[in-house]
Symmetry: C2
Subunit: 406 residues, 2 copies
Amino acid sequence: MAKTSPLAPKGGFPDLPVISGVTFAAVEAGVKYRGRSDVMLAHLCAGTSVAGVFTKSATRAAPVLDCQAKLGSASDGGAAIVVNSGNANAFTGGKGIEAVTAVTKMVAETLDVPQDRVFSSSTGVIGEPLPFERITAKVAELAEGLSPARIQDAAAAIMTTDTFEKGAAAQVTTDTGVINIAGIAKGSGMIAPDMATMLVYIFTDAKIAQPLLQDMLSSLTDKTFNCITVDSDTSTSDTLLLCATGKSAEVTTLTGPFTDALHSVMRNLAHQVVKDGEGATKFVEVCVTGADTDADAHKVGMSIANSPLVKTAIAGEDPNWGRVVMAVGKSGAKADRDLLSIRFGDVVVADKGWVSPDYDEASAAKHMKGDELLIAVDLGIGTGKSTVWTCDLTHAYIEINADYRS
Amino acid sequence: MAKTSPLAPKGGFPDLPVISGVTFAAVEAGVKYRGRSDVMLAHLCAGTSVAGVFTKSATRAAPVLDCQAKLGSASDGGAAIVVNSGNANAFTGGKGIEAVTAVTKMVAETLDVPQDRVFSSSTGVIGEPLPFERITAKVAELAEGLSPARIQDAAAAIMTTDTFEKGAAAQVTTDTGVINIAGIAKGSGMIAPDMATMLVYIFTDAKIAQPLLQDMLSSLTDKTFNCITVDSDTSTSDTLLLCATGKSAEVTTLTGPFTDALHSVMRNLAHQVVKDGEGATKFVEVCVTGADTDADAHKVGMSIANSPLVKTAIAGEDPNWGRVVMAVGKSGAKADRDLLSIRFGDVVVADKGWVSPDYDEASAAKHMKGDELLIAVDLGIGTGKSTVWTCDLTHAYIEINADYRS
C-alpha cells in the first residue's frame, strides 16, 4: 500500500461513538485485492430513515441506479448497506444489475430485511464484471461479525487508492436526549464537484423523517462534498448515504444544532477526502468573495481549484498569482481585472488589479511552504462568496494514475 | 532549453513560401531571456486586411484589448505586428497599456504606418510590468533587419516553453493567380478551448476584404484552434491574427479552395501546438460521433481530452477505456451508457455499453504504444460529431510547471 498521505490527520482514525441501532462488519472476500478486507456491511434497525445523494454522471453504475430506485421505498423492517472495493461494477452492461440483485438479495435474506432496503455500492475498476459470488459467499460471515464497534473496519474495507481510513463524529445535546453522529468516507482520485469517487456513509441515532433527512443531506452536500475537487474528474459511482436510526431524540427542523453538527461531520469528511487526494502534499482552501453572485464565486473557486497550472505551482511552492488571475479569467464568471485582489494566506499579493505595493514575495513563498494553504480572491464586484477545497498536483498523481489498472 | 518534443515534425521547420507584401525581423532585446531572440516584427504593405480572434478570458492582457480595439480601424498605409516573449504584460494595471502604447508608437513612427494599425502581443510571465524600453530600444534594429525570408526567425522569437518553431504553409492556384499562405505559432501550456497561450500569425498574399477575412478566420478557428487542449487552462493573451496583403488573386467567397487551404494551415499549426504541449509524448485525436448535436459531441470530446485520469492513462500506455466512459458521463452531454461504443485505433473495446466480445487487450495495448493515438467514441444517439486533439499528461508537465516562474 502507498505511504500514508502527509496531510492525514495527525491523531489517526478518530474515536467514533457507537450509534445505537447500527452494527458493522468487514471481511476479505478477494474481489480484487488480496490480504485486506474489501467488503463492508452495515445493518440498521427497523425505523431507520435513509437519505442519499449520488453522482450526476450520465454513465452511472448499476449500484447507484439501484440505490436511487430504492430511496423511495416505503418498506421498513430494517435496512442494510453493503459495499465492496476493487471493482466498481460500472459499465458492465446487463451483468451490472444482475450482480447488484444477487448481492442485495443475499444480504436481505441473511439479515431478514426487505431487499428494497438493502443499498449497495461498488468502487474500483470500471468495465469488468463484478465477481459477485465472492461477495455472496461471505455474507453469512459478515452477518456473524456484526458489531456496533466495528465502524473503523468498515472504513478500511471500502478504501481503494486511499492511504488512510476516514472518519468523523459529532455529538448534540438536546432537551430530549444526546444525539450522536458518526461517518466514514473513501476518496481519493476522480474527486470533483457534484460528487466524486466518493463513498460516504453517515449514521445518527436521531429520529428524523425521511423527507427532512433528505433535505438536510442535499443542502449540506452543496456546501461540503460539492465544494471539493482533486482532479476535476467525476466518478460513475459516487454515493453518499445518511441513515437516522431513530433510537435517540427527534429532530424536526431543517436548521438548528443537529444540522450544524451534521455539517461539521460532512465538512470534516470532505476535507479528509481532499487531504488523501492522489499524490496530495498540500491542502488548499480557496476563498472567493466579492463576486456578482454565490454561483459566480463558486465558478471562480472551482476554476482555480481545478487549474493544472495553479495546482502545479502549489506543488512547486511558488506563489504564482498570475496563474490565479488566469483561472479567474477563464472561469466564465463576471470579473474585472482592475478590481481583483488576491491573498496567499495573510499576504496581500495583488490589490485592485496589480501587485500590491506592500507585496513581499518572501512572505508569500513562506506561506506556500506550509501544508495547509489559503488562496483568497476578492473580485470587488458584489457580495457573492464561496469556499472550495483542493490539493496540489504532483508527480505522485501521475505515478498513481499512469498505471493504476495494470 | 528543454529537449525537443518527441512529437515534433520529423523534417524540422517547413520551407515556407515568401508572402508578397510582408517582411519579418527578430532581435534579442533581453526582455527576460538571455542568449536568444525575443522580439519579432512583421511589416505589412498598404492595402493589407487584418482579421483577429482573441482569448475570451475576462482578465485579458493589455495588448489583447489594444488589438481588439484596433481591428476595426479604417486606416491604411500599411500595418505591423510586434511580439515579445518572456513577459505577458498581463495583470499589470495601468502600466499595461502604457507599455503597449510606447511599443506600438515606436513601431508606427519607425515604419511610418498608422499607430492604430500596429498590433502587438506579449507572452510569458503574468503580473510583472513589461520592461518596454528594452523593446523600443531595438525597434530601429528590427526595422533594418526586415526581410521577406525571415519568417522562421520570427517563429523562434515568440517561443516560451515551446521546444520547436511551428510553421505551416499552403498554396492555391486560381484562375487569376497563385495564392500563398504561411503561418507561424507558439504554444505550449495553458492550451484550451477558446484559444490558449497561443500566438498565431498567418499571412497570405490573397486580396480579401476585411469582413470576409474575419468570417473565414472565426469559422475556421472553431474547427481548429478551439478544438485543441493541453491542460484546460486558458491564457490571458491568446491572439490569432490573419493578414491578407492583396498582392495576388482576389478571394470573394467564404467557401472554396482558398478556405480549404487556410483550414489545412490552421489545423496543421493547431496540431503542432498540441504536439509541443508541455511534457507531451503522445498526440491524441478524440473523435466523437453519434451525439445528439455537434455541440454535445464537442462537449464529450473536450471532457475526454481534458480528463487528467484519461491523460495519465495515455501516458502510461494503458487502454483504460473505463476512464473514457467516466469522461463521457461527466461531460454534461446526453448519453446512454448502454448505447456507447469505444475504439482505440482500430480496436473495438466496448460496444453497446459493454466490453466487445472481440476485444483483445493486447491489440489495444499495442495501439497505445504508438505516438499518435485515436480514441473514437460513438454515443449511438444521433448524428452529432466533433473531433478534438490533445496530448498525454506526464511527469514532464509537472516538472515544467512546478517551477516555471522561479
